[in-house]
C-alpha cells in the first residue's frame, strides 16, 4: 500500500476515535452523576427546606435552593428579554442594513458572551455596593440578567436576521411603520426566541460564580426581593465541601436534580426550534 493511503487510514482511525471519545463524555458524566446520586435521591430532598443540623447530616432537603434558582432564573430571563428584544429590533429593523451600530452591537455581545461569570459576579458586587444593596435576590437577578443579555441578543439576532426582507417590505408597502414591521418580524421568529429563552434559562440556572457574590445563601425560601436566596449549584458546591459522607451524598443527589433540569431544558430547546418552525415560510 502507498504511504499516503496508510496515512489516510491512520488519520481516519484517529478521527473516529476522538469523535467517539468526545461524544461519549456526555454519557460518562451523566452516568457517573446518576449512579452516584440516584441512591440518595428522595422526596424529602425536593420537598423540604434544610432543617437544623442539615449540614452535619440531619434531615431536610434543598427546596430552598431549587426555589431560589427558579426565582433568579425566571426573574433574570424576563428582565433580560425586556432589554434584549429592543436591542435586536433596533439593530435589525431601525438601523440601516450593515450599519456600524449593528456590527458594533454584535461584536460587543460576542465579547460579553465570552466574559466569565466570575467577572460578572465581581461587577455585580460593585454595583450592589454602589447601590447600597446587600446580598439579595434582587442583586442576584440583576447580575444574572447582565450575564444572559449577550446570550439572548446573539441567539435572537441569529433568527431575526434570516427573516426574509420581503416580509418587512410588504409591511412598508401597506403603509406600515417600522415598529409595525418589527412586530411582524418578531411573530415570524417566535420559535427562535423560545429556543433563545430556553438556552439562557439553562445557562442562568447552572451558573454559580455569578450568584456567589450577589445572591448569598440561605436556608429559607426568600419571600421578598431584599432577602438572600440559595441557588442549586451553590448548594451542591457547599454540600460537597463538607467532610461528612451523608452531606456529600446529598450533594450528589442535588447534582442529579440539576442534571435532570438542565437536560430537560436543553432538549426542550431543541424540540422547540424544530417543531415551532413548521409554519415558517
Amino acid at each position: 500500500m502507498e504511504i499516503r493511503k496508510i496515512e489516510e487510514n491512520i488519520f481516519r482511525f484517529l478521527m473516529i476515535l476522538s469523535t467517539i471519545i468526545i461524544s461519549s463524555t456526555l454519557f460518562m458524566i451523566v452516568y457517573t452523576l446518576f449512579s452516584k446520586g440516584f441512591g440518595s435521591l428522595s422526596w424529602d430532598m425536593i420537598s423540604k427546606i434544610p432543617e437544623g443540623g442539615f449540614y452535619i447530616g440531619k434531615g431536610g432537603g434543598i427546596l430552598n435552593a431549587i426555589v431560589g434558582s427558579i426565582y433568579i432564573t425566571l426573574g433574570s430571563t424576563f428582565l433580560g428579554l425586556l432589554v434584549s428584544l429592543p436591542i435586536v429590533i433596533y439593530i435589525n429593523v431601525y438601523a440601516k442594513r450593515n450599519a456600524t451600530i449593528a456590527t458594533l452591537t454584535r461584536l460587543s455581545s460576542d465579547i460579553l458572551f465570552g466574559i466569565p461569570s466570575i467577572v460578572y459576579g465581581a461587577f455585580g458586587f460593585t454595583i450592589m455596593v454602589y447601590m447600597g444593596l446587600k446580598t439579595s435576590l434582587l442583586a442576584g437577578i440583576i447580575t444574572v440578567t447582565l450575564m444572559i443579555i449577550p446570550i439572548l441578543v446573539r441567539a435572537i439576532d441569529e433568527v431575526v436576521r434570516v427573516v426574509p426582507e420581503d416580509m418587512s417590505n410588504a409591511v412598508f408597502a401597506l403603509g406600515g411603520t417600522r415598529y409595525e414591521s418589527a412586530k411582524i418580524i418578531l411573530r415570524q421568529s417566535i420559535p427562535g426566541i423560545v429556543t433563545a429563552i430556553l438556552l439562557s434559562f439553562g445557562r442562568a440556572i447552572g451558573d454559580a460564580a455569578c450568584v456567589l457574590f450577589t445572591a448569598g445563601f440561605t436556608d429559607s425560601i426568600p419571600t421578598s426581593l431584599e432577602q438572600p436566596a440559595a441557588t442549586l449549584p451553590l448548594s451542591i458546591f457547599f454540600q460537597l465541601s463538607s467532610p461528612i459522607q451523608e452531606v456529600q451524598n446529598r450533594a450528589y443527589a442535588a447534582a442529579v436534580i440539576l442534571t435532570i433540569i438542565v437536560l430537560i431544558i436543553n432538549i426542550a430547546a431543541k424540540t422547540a426550534s424544530k417543531n415551532l418552525s413548521k409554519n415558517k415560510i
Binding site: S18, L112, S117, V153, F237
Partner: protein, 337 residues
C-alpha cells in the same frame, strides 16, 4: 372728515387683520395639536414609531457601553490597591499575605496558565480531529447524531463538571496515573483542572471549526481531489491551510473560556497558593481565588480591592483575546459572503 373715516376704516381693517392673524395662529395651533395629540391613527403610529426608535437606540447604546462600564467599575474598585503597590510588583511577586497587605498574584497567574495550557493541549487535537471528521468524512446521519450530543455537553453547568471531576478524574490521577511519576499526590492538581476544562471547551472549539470548514468553497476540495490527492492530503494541504485563521480564532476563544472558568476548576485544583512544579501539583487559578475568598473580602482592608483587581486582570486578558478572535471570525464571515 374723510381722513377720520379713513383712519377708522384703517383701524377696523387693522382690527380685522389682527383678528385674521389670530385666527390663523389659532388654526395652526389647532393643526399642531391635531398632529401631536390627535386620535387620528396615522400620526399616533408615527409618534409611536419615533418614540420606539429613540428608546431602543438607548438600549442598544447601553448594551455596547456595557463592556466599558464593567472595565470602569472594576478599575474603580482596584484603585486603592494600584495606588499602594506597583503593577509590576502585583504581577511578578508571589508573596500573598492579605493581613500584611502583600498581594502578589504571580503564583495565581502561573496556576491559571498551567491549567489553561493543559486543557488546550488535550482539547485541541481531539476536537480538531472530531471537527474534521464531522465536516469532511462523516455521513450526514452521523453528524446529526453527534452534534446534538456535543451541544448538550456545552449546556451542562460548570458545577456538574466539577462534581464529575471530583468523582472520576481526581481518583483516577491519584490512584492510576500519578504513582507512575511522583511519590505522592492528592489528585487535586492542575492536571485534573486541565482535563475537566478540556471537556468543557470541546463544544466551543468543535462548533467553530465546523463552521469555518463549512465556509470553505467545495471547489477547492474538488480541485485537489481531481488531481489525485487523497482526502487526508486534501484536508492537510487545502482545507487546514485555508482555515488556519479560523482555527487560531477558535483556540484563542477556547483559551479565554478556560481562563475564566471558576467553579469547576475551584473544585478539582486543590487551591494551594504555590507555583506548581509538575502537573500533579496543586494550583490556585485566579478565578478560584476570587470565588474562594469573597467571604473574608470585606473584613480585611485592601482585600476587596485585591480581588477586584484579580477580576479586572481576568477581564482585560479575556477581553483582548475575545476581541482578537471575534475580529478574525468576522473577517472570515465577510470574506465568504
Amino acid at each position: 372728515m374723510p381722513t377720520s373715516t379713513n383712519t377708522i376704516r384703517l383701524r377696523s381693517l387693522n382690527k380685522k387683520s389682527t383678528q385674521k392673524q389670530l385666527l390663523k395662529v389659532m388654526r395652526s395651533f389647532q393643526k399642531f395639536c391635531r398632529v401631536a395629540f390627535s386620535p387620528t391613527v396615522k400620526n399616533k403610529r408615527l409618534l409611536k414609531d419615533r418614540f420606539v426608535n429613540k428608546t431602543f437606540l438607548a438600549f442598544t447604546l447601553l448594551s455596547i457601553s456595557m463592556v466599558v462600564l464593567i472595565a470602569i467599575g472594576l478599575f474603580y474598585k482596584s484603585i486603592p490597591l494600584l495606588d499602594s503597590t506597583s503593577l509590576s510588583n502585583l504581577l511578578l511577586s508571589s508573596e500573598w499575605k492579605p493581613f500584611k497587605e502583600a498581594f502578589g498574584f504571580y503564583s495565581f497567574i502561573v496556576g491559571t496558565l498551567w491549567v489553561t495550557a493543559i486543557s488546550i493541549i488535550i482539547a485541541l487535537p481531539l476536537s480538531l480531529l472530531t471537527g474534521i471528521y464531522l465536516s469532511e468524512y462523516a455521513h450526514v446521519r452521523v453528524r446529526k447524531l453527534v452534534l446534538p450530543l456535543i451541544e448538550l455537553l456545552s449546556g451542562i453547568p460548570p458545577v456538574l463538571y466539577g462534581v464529575w471531576g471530583v468523582l472520576v478524574i481526581v481518583p483516577l490521577i491519584q490512584d492510576r496515573i500519578a504513582p507512575h511519576f511522583v511519590e505522592f499526590t492528592t489528585g487535586y492538581s492542575v492536571l485534573a483542572g486541565g482535563v475537566v476544562l478540556a471537556i468543557m471547551i470541546f463544544p466551543l472549539i468543535i462548533s467553530i471549526i465546523i463552521e469555518v470548514f463549512d465556509n470553505i468553497p467545495q471547489d477547492l476540495r474538488n480541485a485537489s481531489l481531481s488531481l489525485g490527492a487523497t482526502q487526508w492530503q486534501t484536508i492537510k494541504k487545502v482545507v487546514l491551510r485555508k482555515s488556519f485563521d479560523g482555527i487560531i480564532a477558535a483556540v484563542v476563544l477556547a483559551i479565554s473560556r478556560a481562563f475564566g472558568e471558576t467553579i469547576a476548576v475551584l473544585m478539582v485544583c486543590g487551591n494551594l497558593a504555590q507555583i506548581p512544579q509538575t502537573v500533579f501539583d496543586s494550583g490556585y487559578p485566579l478565578p478560584a481565588l476570587i470565588a474562594n475568598n469573597y467571604g473574608e473580602m470585606m473584613s480585611i482592608p485592601m482585600y476587596d480591592s485585591a480581588l477586584m483587581f484579580a477580576a479586572l486582570l481576568l477581564f482585560v486578558i479575556i477581553f483582548l483575546f475575545n476581541t482578537i478572535s471575534r475580529v478574525i471570525l468576522y473577517r472570515i464571515e465577510k470574506r465568504n459572503t
